[in-house]
């Protein structure tokens, strides 16, 4: 069964067999508003936990998307370039940003589970 974790920067990561799928949370997309542009990382890019690896832009502003853990990007979601609004429609499903091979699974322990993330969101509002 896949493990799901969340960051304080409002990314989610779903982990299955050493591969993590990453996106931004439903809460993040409601805060950003209409998404008009998404830039995803290239396959092969090595990234550290907390590094800015993708960009999501609303009408008003650009925001960085940070890698929840260290690893190597193995695939990016090619659909997002042509359909950035997919992030508003299905942030935690079809609008995943990229997949990476996790280099240090222990880093996942620093992240929140869904209950903790939901409490975090409530607290910060």
């Amino acid at each position: 069964m896949a493990t799901e974790r969340f960051t304080k920067d409002h990314e989610w990561i779903r982990v299955d067999g050493g591969i993590g799928t990453v996106g931004i949370t439903h809460h993040a997309q409601t805060q950003l508003g209409d998404i008009v542009f998404v830039e995803v990382p290239e396959s092969g890019r090595k990234t550290k936990q907390g590094e800015a690896v993708a960009v999501v832009e609303s009408v008003k502003a650009a925001s960085d998307v940070f890698s929840p853990v260290s690893g190597e990007v193995i695939e990016a979601n090619a659909d997002l370039a042509g359909q950035p609004a997919l992030v508003n429609e299905d942030a935690e499903g079809k609008a995943w940003f990229f997949k990476l091979r996790i280099s240090d699974p222990a880093e996942l322990d620093k992240l929140m589970d869904r209950a903790a993330y939901e409490a975090f969101v409530k607290e910060s509002h």
Binding site: G33, D34, V36, F37, E39, V55, E57, S58, V59, K60, A61, A62, A81, P84
Partner: protein, 382 residues
């Protein structure tokens, strides 16, 4: 949109604050006020709705003031020492866009000047200035007025803007006089029980009106107007994307105390008599730029790809030379593509000229584009 300097001052609220909250608006600090950046509809749909039908905006944070003197000639002459527009020539009920200039010809603020239509208002000029600049403007103006002419700020007034192709029809049902106004004219008229000052102008490139009225009546008028299905409340987010597509300047971004009206492409707002006779601050620089061309020019810029280029993005020539900077940039919902404005050095401003935009350390291809990005649809006198 970052017109709010860091400050410990509590945020002010307009007379429509409770209306915005009741409508579910997201409130943000802007120019010292707590203002609606968007309603639940969202910036993209609010923008498109304004161009398709009509939008209602609370712009009560803007500065409204009267310049009061003994007669039109005296008051107009006083204002002409501060701005490059022909104010003397204004007919009753006529409105002009102009700029307060500093001695170097830089723009202290841009503003609307209206000569009221009513004969008993002779000697009065009605000014609307930017929210972020009103304190600076009022001090600047008051310090430079001759004896007998005084500035009277009107903070007790609210200001509503109705913009979009359906605006005229919506307002006509409440105020038949408003339909008789053409672009850049104004009149006093009653809407229901309220004495309003209505001008046919705005900040979206669309036909529309700005309605000034006592703040006490603002909520009632706001609610009355919103009963019309064609009219939806629109926040500052869409106001910004609408004005950017219309190629209109935002103070503190596209124009400031270093930019001249000629550099900013606002030469059209300096009428013939003023160009030749001068008599406004910075006239030497402005007349020189009119004769020889400015050193830099405000231009439209269209990125080739989908990535927006935001304010501060460097503009390079294809050979890598830094030629300018983006001053406003984002996504244009009606254009359905990123759009930007900025300044480039003289000789680089030709329409269609390829440039590069440095976005996240990558040089993205773009081209100099004509402004506006979306054609203006003003209701000019036929």
């Amino acid at each position: 949109m970052n017109a709010t300097p860091a400050s410990d001052q509590p945020l002010r609220r307009t007379a429509l604050y409770a209306q915005h909250v009741a409508l579910g608006a997201k409130m943000v600090p802007f120019a010292g006020y707590e203002m609606p950046v968007q309603y639940p509809l969202g910036i993209l749909k609010e923008h498109l709705h304004t161009r398709a039908q009509a939008g209602l905006f609370d712009v009560s944070h803007m500065g409204q003031a009267y310049l009061v003197g003994p007669d039109h000639a005296t008051t107009a002459a006083a204002l002409e020492t501060l701005v490059p527009a022909d104010v003397l020539d204004l007919k009753p009920g006529q409105q002009r866009y102009t700029q307060l200039l500093n001695d170097a010809g830089g723009i202290v603020d841009d503003l609307m000047v209206t000569r009221p239509a009513a004969a008993d208002d002779d000697g009065k000029l009605f000014l609307i200035v930017n929210a972020s600049r009103k304190d600076v403007d009022y001090a600047h103006i008051a310090a430079r007025l001759p004896e007998g002419v005084r500035l009277e700020p009107a903070p007790e007034r609210a200001l509503l803007a109705m913009q979009g192709p359906a605006a005229a029809q919506v307002l006509a049902s409440l105020c038949p006089e408003a339909s008789r106004l053409s672009f850049m004219t104004a009149a006093s008229a009653r809407i229901g029980e309220f004495d309003c000052h209505i001008s046919r102008s705005g900040y979206t490139g669309e036909d529309g009106f700005e309605i000034s009225l006592p703040a006490a009546g603002a909520a009632r008028l706001w609610q009355t107007l919103l009963r019309t299905d064609a009219l939806k409340p629109i926040g500052l987010g869409a106001r910004d994307s609408l004005r950017l597509e219309a190629g209109l300047c935002l103070y503190g971004h596209d124009i400031d105390e270093t930019t001249s009206p000629i550099e900013a492409g606002l030469g059209w707002s300096i009428q013939k008599r003023r160009r030749s006779t001068g008599g406004f601050p910075g006239a030497v620089r402005i007349q020189d730029e009119l004769a020889k061309g400015p050193k830099r020019e405000r231009v439209g810029i269209r990125p080739e790809g989908r990535a927006p280029a935001r304010e501060g993005t460097e503009v390079l020539s294809p050979s890598g030379e830094r030629i300018g900077v983006v001053t406003s940039g984002g996504f244009g919902p009606s254009v359905n593509a990123p759009v930007a404005m900025g300044y480039v050095a003289a000789g680089h401003a030709e329409i269609g000229r390829p440039v590069h935009l440095m976005v996240r350390s990558k040089a993205l291809p773009a081209a100099i584009a004509p402004l506006p990005f979306v054609p203006h649809r003003y209701s000019r006198k036929s």
